[in-house]
Subunit: 173 residues, 2 copies
DNA sequence: GCTTGACCTGTTATGATATTACATTCATAG
DNA sequence: CTATGAATGTAATATCATAACAGGTCAAGC
């Protein structure tokens, strides 16, 4: 799929470490939303009000939200306030590649590169909680290689790192 | 730390894909236990009865057990039957590098290479539930490189792959 | 325009995983 | 032998997740 705008025009969108870089976040979020429209309609799926709203909520910040955090937001806005409401919308977004589940945090984050095929790796700052999607190609390749050596075939992978983002490392030092 | 025996003498222990290979499991488990004694005493820690028993339970099979599974076993053997009993022992084993937590499964597995420094990667068979520790050096190196590119410093990493082990892939085909 | 069927949303209820707080027991250094 | 810190036991509760079913929405085809 072609990007909806030239990323080289957009300082921030071009960065792999989007979440850690200062950038035009309103643009970043609006772009993700419009890509979401494209992705879902191409898949013959419907980006309904709840689903769209959940994505908007995830897009507000570059960190991960628990399902119950999302649910609380939804409830104040007139949507249902039972867990399945949030879990179903989140599951849909993950299936469509519009959001990711962070296993370490039992939480969800909006995808910063929707519509682009990628097996993501996540960098999670333990100080400010920001979550960035790293360039995962080489990591995934190394993992595939390790699996191939023992005859294991990988279907899904979880690659997450916990540590300090540049800004927090700076602040700590 | 020097290994407690020559692994080249031990078909199975030499394999990186121990969990997927047929091997002398009694030996494998006994070896892990004796290494555990060494590791804990070297660290000035105590391998108490509960802790030792939890490790033995994890060592019975090469798959991951939930904290409540472990707890149920402990309870039938006269140990406490409240969650903290299991969680504390498991936490201790993880701290000592004698067990690992599998984030994807919310479960724990005995380490197959205790006493050897390693940032592990796990291969989880979705069919037989076996969990193997893969050779993770190159994977971790690639992840470190990706993190370094954006100035992120990694403290802990989670690398897990879900798929089919050689035997189950064979059986499915 | 009606029907029908698929999908989506909402709710109840429950299950699964994990932690806090505090009381008690145990091992060991002094 | 006793003081001390570590380990264990227990109750209570917090947090995360799903099963099962009822009702509503919407668009395709008649």
């Amino acid at each position: 799929m072609a990007p909806l705008h030239e990323h080289s025009d957009c300082p921030g969108c071009a960065a792999p470490d989007l979440a850690f870089a200062t950038h035009d976040h309103a643009h970043c979020a609006a772009d993700a939303l419009s890509r979401a429209e494209v992705v879902t309609s191409a898949a013959g799926a419907r980006l309904t009000p709840v689903r769209r709203r959940v994505l908007e909520i995830l897009l507000e910040e570059h960190w991960a939200l628990g399902a119950y955090d999302v649910l609380a937001r939804l409830a104040t806005e007139g949507f249902g306030n039972q867990p399945p409401v949030a879990y179903r919308a989140l599951e849909f977004l993950v299936e469509q590649g519009l959001a990711h589940r962070i296993q370490r945090l039992n939480a969800f984050t909006a995808c910063t590169h929707p519509g682009e095929a990628h097996a993501p790796a996540f960098l999670i700052c333990r100080s400010c909680s920001a979550v960035a999607e790293a360039v995962a190609g080489p990591v995934r390749a190394a993992l595939d290689e390790a699996a191939a050596q023992v005859g294991f075939s990988i279907e899904r992978s979880t690659i997450e790192a916990l540590g300090l983002c540049p800004a927090c490392r700076e602040a700590t030092a």
